[in-house]
């Protein structure tokens, strides 16, 4: 197959493969960012809950900024200004950094809500059994609060996965960027966007189903 021939050619099976690979990149950057962001977010949520003055004064406004400034602006700003402070990150790494912080900002509130959902009486009961502060957090607050806010967390995770499409503005070839490349070449936007949409659905749907079944099991 000559490159000149394929330049304006129609959609073919290799392109599907190309999109599939891009979908895996979307999955990878999402899984990585959501995992890192969740860990940071849970710690931030705990700091906010404990309400130490410093945390409330410094952390809360910072998280507010990351939660309210559109992700695309954060990505472009970070990608272009990071080199000035000596951070030379490629589009993927920049995407992970910003998506993780963005996830953390959203998860922090969810996590604080989870801790609040457990309530003082439950925690006093745990402490009265001789559990330490950390045992109470680990064995009582985390599982009970975690279940309470699990649906909210899944919502955040699915949202971040979709928002990871914005990393395409930095040139990282994930699902959306791959679709744009194919559209430019094939001039078949409807077909390709439909396929890309189907890929996003295929990534999200199992997560929604699985989380729904978990919730059902916990609800008994």
């Amino acid at each position: 197959m000559q490159p000149t021939v394929s330049f304006f050619s129609g959609f073919n099976i290799n392109d599907l493969w190309f999109l599939g690979e891009a979908a895996l990149r979307t999955l990878w950057i999402s899984v990585l960012s959501i995992s890192i962001g969740t860990v940071i977010g849970v710690v931030c949520g705990w700091l906010l809950y404990e309400g130490k003055l410093a945390a409330t004064l410094t952390l809360a406004p910072v998280l507010d900024i990351f939660r309210s400034v559109p992700l695309i602006i954060q990505l472009v700003l970070f990608y272009n200004f990071a080199p000035i402070v000596g951070l030379n990150l490629d589009p993927f790494a920049s995407g992970v950094v910003i998506l993780s912080i963005y996830t953390a900002a959203l998860v922090a509130n969810v996590a604080r809500g989870g801790i609040e959902a457990v309530g003082d009486p439950m925690r006093r009961a745990a402490r009265s059994l001789g559990m330490t502060y950390w045992q109470d957090l680990r064995y009582v607050v985390f599982p009970i609060g975690g279940r309470a806010v699990f649906p909210a967390w899944v919502g955040v995770a699915l949202g971040v996965m979709k928002d990871s499409a914005l990393v395409s503005v930095l040139g990282y070839v994930e699902l959306l960027k791959a679709s744009q490349i194919l559209i430019t070449r094939t001039q078949e936007p409807f077909l390709i966007l439909t396929i890309a949409g189907a890929f996003y659905f295929a990534l999200s749907y199992p997560i929604s189903r699985y989380s729904a079944s978990l919730e059902k099991r916990w609800a008994q």
Binding site: S128, L129, G130
Partner: protein
């Protein structure tokens, strides 16, 4: 033995306990009665260190609960506590609810902890409910679960904070029966309660609290029929 000396407790500027002196002997059952807000729950929280105190001391078997060096978590394993709200851990079965603390606090093996849990659940009459989640237990059963959970730490003292107040009337009896059973077995108990029948029949002594002061303490017969304090008589006249 629990020894409380000149105990003062403040919430901010609110003086909630105003110099309590009280000894509870091993094997004794003490009922604490008094109007809502008189400081009864706070007294229990000060005994097991869930609330700090501002003056005085609480000693349990000679150990100062509020001293800096005290291993409060270890001390609390001696002091079982049952609350008005039963606070079952909703994500664990009845057996796991009871087995959790022996496992993580006392370091028992999984099997040992489950044996203890099964034994205590049977003790409170929940032997048939080992693998049931709290959501399918009644309030009375959940409160008995909470009692079993506290007993599984093999405490030497039990503190009850209005254990029956949140229950539907028809479920009060089963919990009181369980408390009665513990009393008969010789458990040392401090029971904050509004159940005057229980206080009269089961306790060795009854203490009446009024606005942060222990107005009167004595055998049930004395408190219920020949109370010295005007406040005590008024309170009892109203609850009857």
């Amino acid at each position: 033995m629990i020894e409380i000396r000149d105990l003062h407790k403040y919430f901010g500027s609110l003086h909630v306990l105003k110099g309590i002196d009280l000894d509870v002997q091993k094997g004794e059952v003490l009922s604490v009665i008094g109007a809502s807000g008189s400081g009864k729950s706070t007294l229990l929280y000060c005994i097991n260190g869930l609330e700090p105190i501002q003056q005085g001391s609480v000693r349990v078997d000679g150990i100062d609960v509020h001293a800096k060096g005290t291993d409060i978590n270890k001390l609390r394993t001696k002091l079982g506590m049952v609350f008005q709200q039963w606070n079952s851990f909703p994500h664990l079965t009845a057996l796991e609810n009871v087995a959790l603390a022996p496992k993580i606090v006392k370091g028992k093996s999984r099997d040992e902890a489950r044996d203890i849990a099964a034994k205590q659940l049977t003790h409170v009459g929940l032997g048939e409910k080992l693998n049931v989640f709290p959501s399918s237990l009644s309030g009375g059963q959940q409160q008995r679960l909470a009692i079993a959970r506290a007993l599984a730490m093999e405490p030497e003292y039990m503190l009850f904070d209005e254990a029956t107040s949140a229950l539907d009337p028809e479920l009060v009896g089963e919990v009181l029966d369980t408390m009665r059973l513990l009393a008969e077995e010789g458990m040392t108990m401090i029971c904050v309660t509004h159940e005057m029948g229980f206080a009269r029949d089961v306790s060795d002594r009854v203490a009446f609290f009024h606005q942060g002061v222990m107005e009167e303490i004595g055998p049930p017969a004395q408190i219920f029929s020949e109370a010295q304090s005007e406040h005590t008589r008024k309170f009892l006249a109203n609850v009857r």
